[in-house]
């Protein structure tokens, strides 16, 4: 039985010696797990999008999308976020070339652009609330604040995360663990950019047209 183990390696049909020593690669698994997490986040946004689409006509006699949204500010924040995705991509390229300084600078720039985006969003929300369009005004506005606000919350969490990654890079340098961390934050950042494209289209463009 099992006590009969032999220390000699037995030749085994179908299994090469390489496979034998092939332990699971931790960092690769973590990246894979993060991809699955992103899929679940797609579903959370998907649910909020669905709620928004179902409820956007229910303005309860209050203001509708066409009266509320000012496209100019939104186009500016869209470009800020797109630019931050570009700088995030440059950060990963710098990392792959082993340039720690450039990597940190590009990440910091990404975070600054992200913070500017959040600043604009907060300005927009305060402006809307001052006009009397609050969460409790109508089902349309509840769904609007929830969808756009959830995206904003994700960006805020991404900002804290990015600062943490920059600080760790400063002390640890570009190690395999740090490489994976930069890759996951960049995945997250691009993901938020893609979600924003949908928010921009479904909420703002289709709202004012």
């Amino acid at each position: 039985m099992a006590s009969n183990h032999s220390a000699e390696p037995a030749l085994h049909a179908g299994i090469s010696q390489e496979e034998h020593h092939d332990h699971p690669n931790l960092e690769e698994m973590r990246t894979f797990g993060f991809w699955i997490y992103l899929m679940t986040d797609v579903l959370i946004f998907g649910t909020f999008f669905a709620a928004y689409i179902v409820l956007r006509g229910n303005t309860n006699g209050g203001p509708g999308p066409a009266e509320l949204f000012e496209l100019n500010g939104i186009i500016v924040s869209t470009f800020l976020l797109l630019a931050s995705s570009y700088t995030c991509g440059l950060a990963v390229l710098a990392m792959n070339k082993g340039k720690k300084q450039a990597l940190m600078v590009w990440l910091a720039l990404t975070a600054i652009l992200g913070a500017a985006f959040i600043g604009l969003e907060i300005t927009e929300f305060t402006h809307l609330v001052q006009e009397g369009a609050t969460m409790g005004t109508s089902a349309f506005l509840s769904a609007f604040y929830t969808l756009v606000g959830t995206h904003g919350l994700h960006v805020c969490i991404g900002l804290i995360w990015m600062v943490a990654v920059i600080l760790q890079l400063a002390s640890k340098g570009i190690t395999p663990v740090m490489k994976r961390k930069v890759q996951t934050i960049s995945l997250f950042w691009h993901f938020l950019d893609v979600v924003w494209i949908f928010v921009f289209t479904v909420v703002y463009l289709m709202g004012v047209s």
Binding site: A7, G14, G33, G136, S138, I160
Partner: protein
């Protein structure tokens, strides 16, 4: 000042019912007993080091199962209280509002805080052992998942003595769950208890998908994997696609109640039916999430105790995957009466009927596995054999319910209650019990008493049929769910009486199980499993000692077929004295292991505090909880020293103590 405290306390604590005061006293006494006992035996340090901060999948699994048993007790007491109230017409054992709370908490606890942790417990203890892995993919995350579940369960149960329990049914349909009709804190406990534990469930789903896809032993192709990991994979796929919808839906309900939003309210343009669609988009897959692993367990057991390879391995795999996908296409059958029209109802009626096909395939596979097998009737096999007729008949009533026009008659009647208890007890609960009895020796290193186990089995089974068969009839006679009492002239008395007797028998069966475990622990030395393979098993978990060493496998197994351990035993038998293991070859090497961490339990404590703050609108609690959460996460992120190596000498001496790797 004193008046202020008094008025706060009378709002904060649940008062007025002698049952609740009794519960308060017993909770207080139990807590005192635990604290005194732990201090007296100086066990706090041991508890913290070995259990509360562990990242070992086997220990986390045991904690899950233990919690599930506690919750089974509480949910069971709820059930017995309800059955007592219904035993006679015009009973006034429970007040109507108390009755509402009890059917709500019974449902939530049984599905989310009993079935789910029981299932995750079995995932944890067995999946890594069956696929030849040393742990799950993300051990830290695994510990966090458990503690989030635990924090959520405790928050939910707290509502019993503080603030008041939810009473809007187990899925909290609006508008009744909205602030306008339900101004107390009960529904907020509901939202946050489920939200916190649901996030844990979602992470467990991700964890096991990665574990199964990336960490199988060398040579274990997907199609060589035992059936239980397959069922876990199909269940986890359903988890990652459905639990986000639950998280989002509860968040919307929370915003309605907390921030005055109008998603599901009757005023302001809200749409209550949207909630019912969304919650069932999670709720229906959830039913399959909990039953698929039970199918996997039955497949393992039926093949072990028939001494045969599982019949139709491939069709079993396809059937589970198809069920996992189809489970997302049937949600509207829970509300055919919504009025969405004949076309929509026809679509959902057809998809519902379709699910019976892969399920039928599985039943035939189990039957053909037993056909001409050398069947033995140990307790795990008894539960399996008890399950098949139970699930088939329960499934057939499901097909009856799927007929949309007829459903207008069955909807929300006791016919429905009987149906879902039939498949959930007969499928899920029997399945998890079977799994627990089957893997018990591997988990704890000793076998349980078969005789007491058989008593428990028969009491469960007879009690089950007595309890739920009359409910089908009651449903057809017009008794609707959630009624608190009924009058003498309805003619429902006899059936309700029989049903209550059945419930009592199941209560006795549970006591038999507790006795069986206590008896097993007391006599564990005499019933020790020294072989590691007490059932003459077929899969890898039986090839290592019982209980499994903390690193699971001294060297990773080399797999070349399905049922590899069975094949290895055949090879050794045929090879005689000269035979060499093909399963375990090579030299011992240092093993890479994750370090324990206190962060998961601290993070969950922070979630508990934040959740409690949200329930009572105490903003400083929320801020404290969320800041604590953020600090924990950053602390974990900045810690790069998370693992260590077990030296070869330690592995060798540990293995030698079970008679392995002696040279």
């Amino acid at each position: 000042m004193w008046e202020k405290v008094k008025s706060f306390a009378s709002e904060f604590f649940v008062t007025g019912d002698p049952l609740i005061y009794g519960a308060d006293v017993s909770i207080g006494l139990t807590l005192i007993a635990v604290v005194v006992g732990m201090t007296y035996f100086k066990k706090w340090n041991w508890l913290w080091r070995e259990w509360l901060t562990t990242v070992d999948h086997k220990k986390i699994g045991i904690m899950y199962i233990l919690s599930a048993f506690l919750m089974l007790f509480r949910g069971g007491v709820d059930a017995l209280l309800m059955r007592t109230q219904l035993v006679m017409p015009e009973m006034s054992f429970l007040a109507p509002d108390h009755y509402n709370q009890i059917f709500t908490t019974h449902g939530v606890i049984m599905i989310l805080f009993m079935a789910m942790p029981f299932m995750f417990g079995l995932f944890n203890v067995m999946v890594p052992l069956q696929i030849g892995a040393r742990d799950v993919a993300f051990p830290f995350l695994n510990s966090l998942s458990f503690w989030l579940f635990f924090a959520g369960a405790m928050l939910f149960n707290l509502s019993f003595v503080i603030g008041g329990s939810p009473d809007a049914g187990w899925l909290a349909y609006p508008p009744y769950s909205e602030l306008m009709y339900n101004p107390g804190v009960g529904q907020d406990f509901y939202i946050w208890g489920i939200q916190i534990s649901g996030i844990g469930s979602l992470m467990t789903g991700i964890n096991f998908i990665v574990t199964i896809l990336k960490m199988r032993a060398p040579g274990m192709k997907l199609m060589r994997m035992p059936m239980f990991p397959w069922s876990v994979l199909s269940s986890c796929i359903a988890i990652i696609f459905s639990f986000p919808i639950l998280t989002a839906t509860l968040a919307l309900l929370f915003l309605d109640r907390y921030a005055g939003a109008h998603f599901f309210t009757l005023d302001g343009g809200g749409n209550p039916m949207m909630y019912i669609n969304l919650i069932w988009m999670w709720g229906h897959p959830e039913v399959y999430i909990i039953v698929l692993p039970a199918f996997g367990i039955f497949s393992e057991i039926v093949s072990t105790f028939s001494k045969k390879k599982l019949f139709g391995y491939k069709s079993m795999v396809y059937a589970m995957m198809i069920i996992s996908v189809l489970s997302f296409l049937v949600w509207a059958h829970h509300f055919f009466t919504m009025g969405s029209g004949a076309d929509v109802n026809a679509f959902f009626a057809l998809t519902t009927m379709l699910i019976a096909i892969p399920t039928g395939v599985k039943v035939f596979n189990w039957l053909f596995t037993m056909f001409r097998g050398k069947i033995t009737f140990e307790t795990p096999m008894l539960w399996t054999i008890g399950f098949i007729p139970c699930f088939v008949t329960g499934g057939l009533t499901g097909v009856l319910l799927s007929v949309a026009p007829a459903d207008f008659q069955f909807h929300n009647s006791y016919f429905l209650i009987a149906h879902f208890h039939h498949v959930i007890i007969g499928g899920v609960v029997f399945g998890y019990f079977a799994g627990l009895y089957y893997w018990w020796p591997k988990l704890f290193g000793f076998k349980l008493n078969e005789r007491i186990g058989k008593w428990a089995f028969w009491f469960w089974n007879i009690g089950f049929y007595l309890c739920f068969m009359p409910q089908y009839v009651l449903g057809l006679m017009g008794m609707t769910r959630r009624v608190v009492s009924y009058s003498w002239d309805k003619g429902w008395w006899e059936m309700n009486l029989v049903s209550t007797i059945g419930a009592a028998l199941m209560g006795i069966a549970f006591l038999f199980q507790v006795w069986q475990i206590a008896h097993g622990v007391k006599h564990s030395a005499a019933n020790r499993d020294t072989t590691g393979d007490p059932w003459n098993g077929r899969t890898l978990e039986w090839s290592i000692p019982s209980p499994a060493p903390y690193y699971n496998f001294a060297v990773l197994p080399q797999v070349s077929s399905q049922d590899e351990w069975w094949e290895e035993k055949q090879r050794m038998e045929q090879g005689g004295a000269k035979a060499q293991s093909q399963l375990y070859t090579g030299e011992l090497e240092p093993i890479h292991m994750p370090k324990n961490s206190a962060i998961p339990i601290l993070m969950s404590a922070c979630c508990f505090v934040a959740g409690f703050g949200f329930v009572f609108h105490w903003l400083w609690f929320v801020i404290a909880g969320i800041s604590g959460l953020a600090i924990c996460m950053l602390k974990h992120s900045f810690n790069h020293d998370t693992d260590y190596y077990i030296p070869v000498e330690e592995i060798r001496s540990s293995e030698a103590s079970t008679g392995r790797w002696k040279n």
